[in-house]
């Protein structure tokens, strides 16, 4: 006689032994079989394991009964009849099965508890609730047979992958850009600066010394001591004394004037933002150029002797000419500019360019005659580059800060106003004061300019208001 050993079939429980009377009634020794005593011992050990697993929840009476039965079988197996052993084994199996069931239930409870607690911590929900499944099974199957009672299970849909669900934030929140990445546009957006009337339209020569002397021919002499007439060529008879001629030469002198800028930056910022040096360079250059434009266009050294002479400072105003004197009916911008061009031509200067504000520039484009036609004839035209010409003089749009809408600036082709740069523009970095000690770097930019206009070339620049020209030409 032997007691067979059978697997429990539960994945989670410890191996479950079932006592079984050997069919041959022998002492065992067949494959997979052990002696009854060993089997009883193993079952005892298993019972002990179950007891430990159940802990406080163990049914003490059930265990006591089973242990007693096992002890009785162990002690009496040598003397017991086969029928008695079989009965005892059956009773032990029943008790053991009951305890095993308790173990399985306990494990299931633990699993559910674990799932529920996990659901609370991360916000996840089950797709199918256990209670719903149990109700469904109970309703659908009664006593092993399928019923027709209505029953349903609601399956919750899986959540959508959205920003709120997918990137779960901790206490500090989630940096979504860590997953999605980001692109930094390297362009530094900044205000649009005005055009540079001087640097864009005038030739500037570079010289290597800071002082400039210019020569001026003065047409005076002692031919006529009273008037200082320098004399000149004349038609004469053969043999007649030739007319005298003389003139004098004087000099004018100008010194270089420096425009400069300076700034200090922390090294840490330079290291963390490598583009900063380029931004500083660009900004400093722009600032210097704006100041160059302002000084060389507007400055009067009588007011600010640190800056060079400005183009407008010695410019002449419009003065009437016989052909344009209170005789133009309903004059407009075009009439005013043509009158100004005529006035400059009368003073022996060849008009080259006229600067007007942007709005005046475009207003000229849409001026119409009294019958509604655009004023577009041979005197006023736009070339293939979009350049506007009036009476052969190019009209150039300018920023309102340089040439207000009320004004125009007319210059001759051979401009008497001269500009020189002393050396190139400088932009460099270095250590200043406590820079080395305080981990800083300083930047400086500068350039020097000289400008002048000889008194006898002042007519080459005309700066005046449209109102003054209109007052002089409007037919009364």
């Amino acid at each position: 006689m032997s007691v067979g050993i059978m697997g429990a079939g539960s994945a989670s429980a410890s191996r479950f032994f079932r006592a079984k009377l050997s069919p041959d009634g022998g002492n065992g020794g067949g494959e997979g079989e052990v002696s009854e005593v060993d089997a009883i011992k193993k079952i005892s050990e298993q019972v002990e394991q179950f007891k430990n697993l159940l802990g406080d929840k163990a049914d003490a009476n059930a265990f006591k009964t089973l242990e007693d039965k096992l002890t009785a079988l162990e002690e009496g197996i040598e003397t017991m009849k086969a029928a008695e052993i079989s009965k005892a084994i059956e009773a032990i199996n029943k008790s053991n099965e009951s305890i095993y069931k308790q173990v399985v239930e306990l494990q299931e409870e633990l699993a559910i508890g674990k799932e529920q607690s996990a659901g609370k911590s991360n916000g996840r929900t089950e797709l199918i609730a256990t209670a719903e499944v149990e109700t469904f099974v109970k309703t659908t199957f009664v006593d092993g047979k399928k019923t027709h009672a209505p029953a349903k299970i609601t399956i919750k849909a899986a959540e959508t992958f959205g920003y709120d669900q997918t990137f779960v934030g901790g206490e500090a929140g989630t940096d979504i850009s860590a997953f999605t990445g980001r692109f930094v546009d390297p362009l530094l957006n900044q205000r649009k600066r005005k055009r540079n009337l001087i640097l864009d339209n005038f030739d500037i020569r570079t010289i290597g010394v800071p002082r400039l002397v210019y020569l001026v021919k003065v047409e005076v002499g002692n031919t006529d001591p009273v008037s200082g007439d320098p004399g000149g060529a004349a038609w004469i008879l053969s043999g007649q004394a030739k007319p005298k001629r003389s003139f004098r030469v004087t000099t004018g002198e100008v010194e270089a004037k420096k425009v400069a800028i300076f700034g200090t930056i922390e090294d840490k910022l330079l290291r963390d933002a490598p583009s900063f040096q380029n931004w500083i360079r660009e900004d400093f250059m722009d600032e210097i150029k704006e100041e160059i434009n302002d000084g060389l266009l507007n400055n009067d050294p009588g007011v600010n002797d640190l800056a060079p002479l400005g183009l407008k400072t010695n410019a002449v105003q419009y003065s009437p000419t016989p052909a344009f004197a209170l005789n133009v009916e309903l004059p407009n911008y075009i009439d005013a500019l043509i009158a100004a061009i005529a006035a400059m031509s009368n003073s022996k200067e060849q008009p080259g360019k006229v600067f007007v504000s942007d709005d005046v520039f475009y207003r000229i484009h849409n001026l119409k005659s009294t019958d509604g036609k655009w004023l577009n004839n041979n005197l006023i035209y736009v070339n293939s580059l979009g350049q506007l010409f009036i009476a052969g003089v190019q009209v150039i749009p300018s920023d309102i800060e340089d040439v207000p809408s009320t004004h125009f600036l007319l210059i001759s082709a051979d401009l008497g106003f001269k500009i020189y740069a002393y050396g190139d523009m400088v932009f460099e970095r270095g250590l200043n004061g406590e820079d080395f000690r305080e981990d800083k770097t300083s930047y400086r930019g500068y350039q020097e300019f000289l400008s002048y206009i000889a008194a006898n070339r002042e007519n080459s620049v005309m700066y005046d208001t449209f109102a003054n020209v209109l007052a002089a030409i409007t037919k009364v």
């Binding site: 105003q317 003065s319 003054n468 007052a471 002089a472």
Partner: protein
């Protein structure tokens, strides 16, 4: 100092100057720096105070403004 200063007159208008009847060129109360040639041309047609450009005064004013703006 250039020719501009020598030739400038400061004109303060007492009435609108509207020679064509369709376009006010100088408004009443406004002050304008006008070339002496133009002033000569229209002096009979305007009601205005005409003064020479006071170079000293204007430079002093300009310098003061420049210093303030520094």
């Amino acid at each position: 100092m250039g020719k501009k200063i020598d030739n400038v007159k400061i004109v303060t208008f007492k009435e609108d100057y509207n020679p064509s009847g369709k376009q006010v060129i100088y408004a009443k109360g406004s002050e304008h720096a006008i070339h002496k040639g133009v002033v000569e041309l229209i002096k009979d047609k305007i009601k205005a105070d005409v003064k020479d450009f006071d170079e000293k005064k204007e430079y002093a004013k300009a310098k003061e403004n420049f210093e303030k703006a520094k």
